[in-house]
Amino acid sequence: MTKIGLEIHSQLTKLESKLFCSCKANYREFEPNTNICPICIGLPGSLPRLNQKAVEKATMIAMALNCSTPEKIAFFRKNYFYPDLPKNFQITQLNIYGDTSVGGIGTLMVGEKKIRITRIQLEEDPGRLIYEGSSEKNLVTLVDYNRAGTPLVEIVTEPDFENPREVREFLNILSDLLENLGVSDPSLEGAMRADANVSIEGGNKVEIKNIGSFHDLEKAVHFEITRQQSLHSRNIPIIQETRHWDDKRKITVSSRSKEEDLDYRYFLEGDIPWIKIGNEIKEKLKSEMPESISSKKQRYISKYDIPVQVADVLSSNKFYSDLFEDAHTKENAKEVANIITTDLMGLIDTREKRESSKLKPFHLKEISDSIQSGRITRTSAKNALYEIVKTGKTLSDIISELDLGNVSDEYELLKIIELVILEEPQAVKQAKSNPQTINYLVGKVMQKTKGKADPKLTLDLLKKKIQ
């Protein structure tokens, strides 16, 4: 049986400051080495100043993944030399003196399958290395420490996955969960990374590192399973090792670094006392946690009678469910959910589009109310939505500017219907014998009005005219 385990690193991008200093957690907007201070650069004499909210958010993640949360958490030093590590040790968590990382054993359901979480730990992200130079020989390593000290949560799973598809589904669910918790924006570049370990029946565990994206992770796992199966079928032993994902060649390569030789000399970080997180604090954190995705989904179904599929899509995405929460009333909930899932999601399907969108919750309320009152048609609503996203104008302005209002004036509509009857004698004949086919004529009227004809009125008038 194939066994796959994951180590997921997720930055707490929703925090203001880094894990141990007051530099900005979102380092992305800075010129190289301008988001640094004596602490995150590890200057002599500096000490870590632990961010309270980082501990709280990490604890919330642990709770959301049904992990045990200890009474006290502790920090450890992981010692190794690397140019992106300003102190040449990383402050992280470990469970060698009992469970002292923010989260212990937990579970996350992927459909019917239970994935066990081994532990969750809070740690600091290293800086970034940039390689310059044309060949291996004159390669220059440049270091940008802006990212150094960014709060990072590591989620370690048991090897409970059996195939790359389960891995992908898990990562989708997890990234929705983290976003819903308001701790991280997984769509930010580098905000969520993962390493995998893979073993097949009768073989040793192989770790795969350096995987750039979740898309590549699936590929890397797939490649690694195939590689191991191929070795196995030829009776070549699968050795325990660390392999790196080669992004260019899309294969895993045995890493030359002697990881086995490393000795991290883990020991307690004396600059950070153990942190008490008593039941009172835990209860408070629990009460501050946003509603979970599954509970949201249930609520949408039972309270608003939203179809399961729609509720599923809507609840799992924080951006859209937030929009829904702000826009809906008991009366228009179904309509708002509909607009979001059928029209809006296609319209702003990338992070950039979402960020530049001018749409506000009140727009959705206007649109759904106007549809329900028959002021505009669904087709017009879709056109209006496009304009709103672009300009942020009110629906009324857009209706008048683009002349999107329903043609519900009987006199005007009748003129168009008469024209259609004249043009389509065949269809009229057919409609007389088979009333079902009258919809064709309705469609024609719609065409002539650019979708603005009030559908119900059109049908009534057509029926009257033909009979």
Partner: protein, 481 residues
């Protein structure tokens, strides 16, 4: 002008207008000029000190608000950061390191209008007890320049003892304030762990070390503590002292106090003159109304091994950042591979630091941590339990600060284990986080002996009161410089 006055005398004199800060600082700088060639307390001098003093005099004259130090000249151990000033840790590795920020203690002293006359010598990265491991050469004991001044805060003790300042800040990891204080006949005080912020103190063994003052009098130590103690958001290990005034009631006396004499600290290997000084001090304390009785802390036997195991482990990690990439000395990365560059760059670390790095790689390594590092942590825990038990019965504990007299420069440098054992009486306070103070007690054959008192955590005030009482019983000769 007399510069041989205490810190509190200085502030009173300036406040009353009897002397000016400028005159006093000028005289102090002159003293440094005169004596430091032979004593070598200083690694760098503040050439703006006199100007700064003039500014303070101006403020006084104009009746502006003035800090409690009134321009008092203070020397700072060169492992504490002063903004825009070289901070070398007496290492060639940091010979060009200019701190871009102030340590919390420095910020606080600046606010109180202290003047830093210069940075003083230490064993490289504070690893040692004689200053012989300074990359810039040893300091000399003002009582006899053939002898070591103790360490690692040797420069601090020498500068106070030789009137090159009125007070100094050192750091105490295993006795590094108390040992040189004892060897140079000054007061040396290590407060409760967490009482003084370590932000800006370059870490050697961060879980047990504290900044501490070296002063001429116990009162001065209390005064310094008033200025620099307290909760600091920059140091998560600091504790709230509720703005305790350590000077108030310092003369309360020790009548009725129970003092335990730590048996393991007056046993094997103690110099007879040190033993007799200790006995003498005990009888003096009894004369003041205290009751003294022996107490055993059997973990003391293992304390030095535990201390060196823990400090080597932490130092191995704390000093890993010295890879010369972000700061350090001129040495181009051109043509080197990462690991070999760092190995080459770190050759600037001196021999003792190099040895400690190897120890620090060895004792916590996967294969050895159970035998060494974890055991050392357990000894630390048990020792803490034992001393806490002792404090259920006693208010204070007493021992000689160092079991031997100052030794000659070069005499012990090649015998690591005998050097280890000199720390036997001081490391306990660090391993257990307790406050401890060395009080100059007697000069024996021209060499100073100090007595150590230890109190329970956060009982620093009581400790200072007892030290004050003991200090009042002694009359010491002036240093022969």
């Amino acid at each position: 002008m007399n510069i041989k006055i205490s810190a509190l005398q200085f502030t009173r004199e300036v406040k009353s207008g009897n002397i000016s800060a400028e005159d006093f600082i000028a005289k102090t700088m002159e003293q440094i000029q005169n004596v430091d060639d032979s004593l070598h307390a200083f690694l760098s001098i503040n050439d703006k000190a006199v100007d700064q003093a003039r500014e303070i005099d101006k403020k006084i004259k104009l009746g502006e608000k003035i800090g409690q130090c009134f321009g008092m000249p203070i020397s700072i151990k060169d492992n504490i950061c002063i903004k825009d000033t070289k901070t070398t840790c007496a290492s060639k590795m940091l010979e060009n390191f200019i701190a871009p920020y102030d340590a919390t203690v420095i910020t606080k002293l600046k606010q109180q209008d202290a003047i830093f006359v210069g940075k003083v010598n230490l064993d490289e990265f504070a690893m040692g007890l004689s200053t012989e491991f300074s990359a810039y050469g040893p300091s000399k004991n003002p009582w006899n320049t053939d002898y070591v001044p103790g360490g690692s805060s040797g420069g601090s003790a020498v500068s106070v003892s030789a009137f090159e300042c009125v007070a100094s800040l050192g750091s105490d990891t295993g006795g590094s304030v108390r040992n040189p204080a004892s060897f140079c006949s000054t007061v040396g005080y290590k407060p409760t762990y967490g009482l003084i912020s370590r932000y800006g103190l370059i870490s050697y063994a961060n879980s047990i070390e504290q900044i501490g003052p070296l002063t001429r009098t116990v009162e001065d130590a209390a005064f310094m503590l008033n200025l620099i103690a307290g909760l600091d958001p920059n140091d998560n290990t600091t504790v709230d002292n509720n703005n305790e005034d350590y000077l108030k009631d310092i003369n309360s006396g020790i009548e009725g106090k129970k003092i335990g004499i730590i048996k393991e600290m007056i046993g094997e290997g103690i110099d007879p003159s040190v033993l007799s000084a200790t006995k003498d001090a005990i009888s003096k304390l009894e004369g003041l109304g205290a009751t003294c009785e022996e107490v055993s802390l059997d973990m003391v036997k293992y304390s030095v091994a535990a201390y060196y195991t823990i400090t080597a482990t932490e130092a191995g990690s704390n000093l890993a950042r010295y890879d010369n990439l972000r700061y350090g000395y001129d040495f181009s990365v051109e043509g080197y591979e990462f690991n070999s560059y760092i190995e080459k760059a770190r050759k600037k670390l001196g021999p003792e630091v190099t040895r400690r790095m190897i120890l620090g790689g060895f004792v916590p390594s996967a294969g050895h941590t159970g035998k060494y590092f974890l055991k050392a942590l357990k000894v630390k825990s048990k020792l803490t339990r034992q001393i806490n038990d002792a404090f259920k019965k006693f208010d204070l504990l007493i021992s000689p600060t160092v079991p031997i007299l100052p030794f000659k420069i070069g005499e012990k440098i090649n015998d690591p284990v005998s050097l280890f054992l000199i720390d036997i009486n001081t490391v306990t306070a660090n391993l257990t986080g307790k406050p401890a103070i060395s009080i100059p007690y007697v000069i024996s054959n021209g060499l100073p002996i100090g007595i150590q008192l230890i109190a329970n955590s956060m009982n620093d005030k009581l400790l200072l009161q007892a030290a004050y009482a003991l200090e009042k019983t002694v009359q010491l000769p002036e240093v022969p410089i």
